[in-house]
Structures are given as C-alpha cells and as structure tokens.
Amino acid sequence: MSWIDWLSAVLVALGALFFIVGTVGLLRLPDLFSRLHALTKADNLGLGLIMLGVLPQVGGPLQGLKLLMIWLLVLLAGATGAHLIAKRALRGDGEDLFE
C-alpha cells in the first residue's frame, strides 16, 4: 500500500468513527436537541471524511466532482432537515398540513 492508500484508509476509518459515535449519540442522548446535534455531526463530518478518503481512489476528476456534489447535497438536506425538526420541537411550527 502506498501512502495515498494509507491516507484513504485512515480518513475512511475516521469517518466511520464519526458515524458510530453519531449513532451511539442518537440512541443514548437524553433529549431531541442533543440527539439532533449527534446526528448532524455524523452526516456532515462522517460523510465528509469518508468522501475525502475515497477521493484519491476515484478514476478521474469528473467522478471526484460527483462525490463532492453528493456531499454538498447531503449537507444541504441534512441542515434543512435538522432545522425543520428543531423548529417544530421548539415552536410547534412544523410547516404542517393546513387543518
């Protein structure tokens, strides 16, 4: 294994660690807001690190760009989802169905 492969392995392992810690937090933390906090770290940092680890292994710049875009999409969706859940819990304003 070259040093690039080692770098990939370390980054992917770190990313997996974030996912494990995030999952433990989701299961063990006491209230919704701290669980949300644990979850978004796993999504953003965990996936980001895994993507950085996989990036040196892809076939070309176009594939790398696709990975980067997937990460950005998850960031966008994760942040918005967490915001909506927190807003609903805090103010009871869930942008819900009209009654």
Partner: protein, 312 residues
C-alpha cells in the same frame, strides 16, 4: 483467502440486517414506525442490489421502493392517524388462523422452488443456449449499449408498456377514492431556499438519468422517480398541486407514456414490422422518444399519487 472470509462476513451482515429490518417492519404495531422501518429496509435492499452488481435495480429500489414508496406510505399513515383521531373508527382486521397457515405453507413452497432454481443454476446441466448469452450477443443491434435498457425498451418493450398501464391504473384508483387532503403550509425561509436549489437540480438529474440510461445504469423509471421526488418536495413546501399543471394537462401528461408507446408500436405495425419491433437503424431514436414520454408520465403520475386525490 482472508479477503474471501471478510467478504463472506460482510455479505452475512448485509443479508442478516436485511432480514432483521424486514421482520421489524412487518411486526411493528404502529404504522408510522412500520413505514420508517420499511424505508430503511428499502435503502438496505438497494445496498444489497449494488453488492450483487445490479446498479440499475439498486437505483430503482432506492428511488421508487424506499423514496417515493416511503413518502406515499408515510402520507397514508398520517391520513389514517388523522382519521382515527377524528373519530372515524378503523376496523382492525384480524387474519384467520387458516389464512396464516395457508400463507406460511405457500411461502415454504415458494422458498423450496427458489432453492431448487438456485441449485440448478449452480450445478445443473447447462442447456445448449442460455437466454442471457443470446440476449447479450444482440445488445449492439438493440439501439442502446446498456443491456438493462435494451431488455426493458426493446426485447421486453411490451412488458414496460404494461407497467406504465399499471402505474396509470393505480393513479386512477387514487383519484377515484376522493379528494386530495389539505395542502401544506407555505415553507419558511430555510425550506424555501433548499427547495429553490434542489428542485431544479432534480429536474436536471432526471434529464441526465434519461440520457445516460442508453449506455449506463439509469433510464425512464429512475428519471421519472426523480421528477416525482421534485413534485413531492414542492408539495411538502406548500405548493398545493406539487408543481403539476391544471387537471386537463395533468391527464394528458399521465397518458403520454402509454400514448407514445402505443402510437410508435402501431406505426411500426403499419410499416409492416411487428408491434414494437424497431427497425435496426432507428431503434435508438424510437427508444429515446418512448423513454422521454415515459419519464414525463412516470414523474407526473408519482407526483399526482403523492397529492393523493382528485380535484373533487
């Protein structure tokens, strides 16, 4: 050797989790929880398909099975919860023991048959000409280079036409069940900003999926599912019609897939070829026309199904 062992462990975890998720989804007493578990099951199943090197099926499972199927079932569970809360009693139906035993017996026979087929494929006498070899040999003549698309839109085009019919019939059933539930409130600034980014991106990606389907995993069903997802997001963000046009235009859109399919088929018959037997030189463009129409129709049908009812 060690590598093989790790792969085996990986596969066992993959399959074990899939079965556990299925059991959890089926045995959950609360509908919302069952749907959540079903969505997780669908995503996990798409991982299994990817591991089996069937990216086309993995994409379709993730987009339709987990994504849009999940959204539809969540909406149904929510509607049921509201109706129960409003005092409309939902009659719980208990299956009779006879039905359960019958089902168990049937599943056992099906499992036995599947095991036999599996055994035969591995150890049986190979026939003179395997269907897969015959089909793969003629992919270059089919007008597209992705074998999956060549089966779906050329060899087996008739099946795909009927699948579009099934989708349309399902929507007609939904429309005939009554009016759509009340729309969602207009989105706040954060959700509005996300929708403004994601919906155009989904439409763009649907176009990409449709085009790339000729040579790589993708195609009309995946592209249509992305369009449908754009509709679901718009509906959730407060657009009452999920971005769909007026009712007359909607009806045209929903029949478009079958119409283009049938017209091309009949025109080919008129030209002296069989129904949907594409002439060698023109296959690519005919398939692209059919797939474009099917993408629009599938997208509109899925979005309309999520809106969940006629206009009264």
């Amino acid at each position: 050797m060690i590598h093989d062992l790790w792969l085996l462990v990986f596969d066992l975890v993959l399959v074990g989790t899939l079965i556990a998720l299925a059991v959890a989804a089926l045995s959950s007493p609360e509908p919302r929880r069952a749907v959540m578990l079903f969505i997780a099951f669908g995503l996990w199943l798409s991982l299994v398909w990817a591991r089996l090197r069937a990216p086309d099926v993995a994409l379709a499972e993730a987009a339709i099975g987990a994504g849009l199927g999940g959204a539809l079932m969540l909406a149904a569970a929510r509607r049921q919860a509201r109706e129960t809360a409003e005092g409309q009693t939902v009659v719980a139906q208990r299956s009779s023991p006879l039905a359960i035993w019958g089902l168990a017996f049937g599943s056992l026979i099906a499992a036995g048959a599947l095991l036999w087929v599996y055994y035969q494929t591995l150890h049986g006498e190979p026939g003179t000409a395997r269907l897969a070899d015959l089909a793969l040999d003629r992919v270059p003549e089919s007008g597209v280079s992705n074998p999956v698309t060549s089966v779906l839109l050329n060899y087996r085009a008739y099946d795909t036409l009927l699948e579009l019919g099934v989708l349309m019939a399902a929507l007609m059933g939904i429309w005939s069940l009554g009016r759509a539930p009340a729309p969602f409130q207009p989105a706040g600034p954060a959700l509005t900003a996300m929708v403004a980014w994601v919906v155009p991106l989904l439409i763009l990606t649907a176009g990409y999926m449709l085009w790339i389907g000729a040579s790589a995993p993708g195609g009309a069903f995946q592209a249509g599912a992305l369009l449908g997802a754009a509709g679901v997001i718009l509906r959730l963000a407060g657009h009452p019609a999920a971005g769909l046009p007026g009712e007359t235009a909607q009806r045209w859109l929903i029949t478009l897939g079958i119409a283009v399919f049938a017209v091309i088929g009949l025109a080919l018959m008129g030209a002296g070829l069989g129904f949907l037997t594409y002439p060698a030189g023109q296959a690519k463009w005919l398939i692209l026309a059919v797939e474009s129409a099917a993408t629009l129709a599938i997208g509109a049908t899925l979005a309309a199904a999520y809106v969940g009812g006629g206009r009264g």
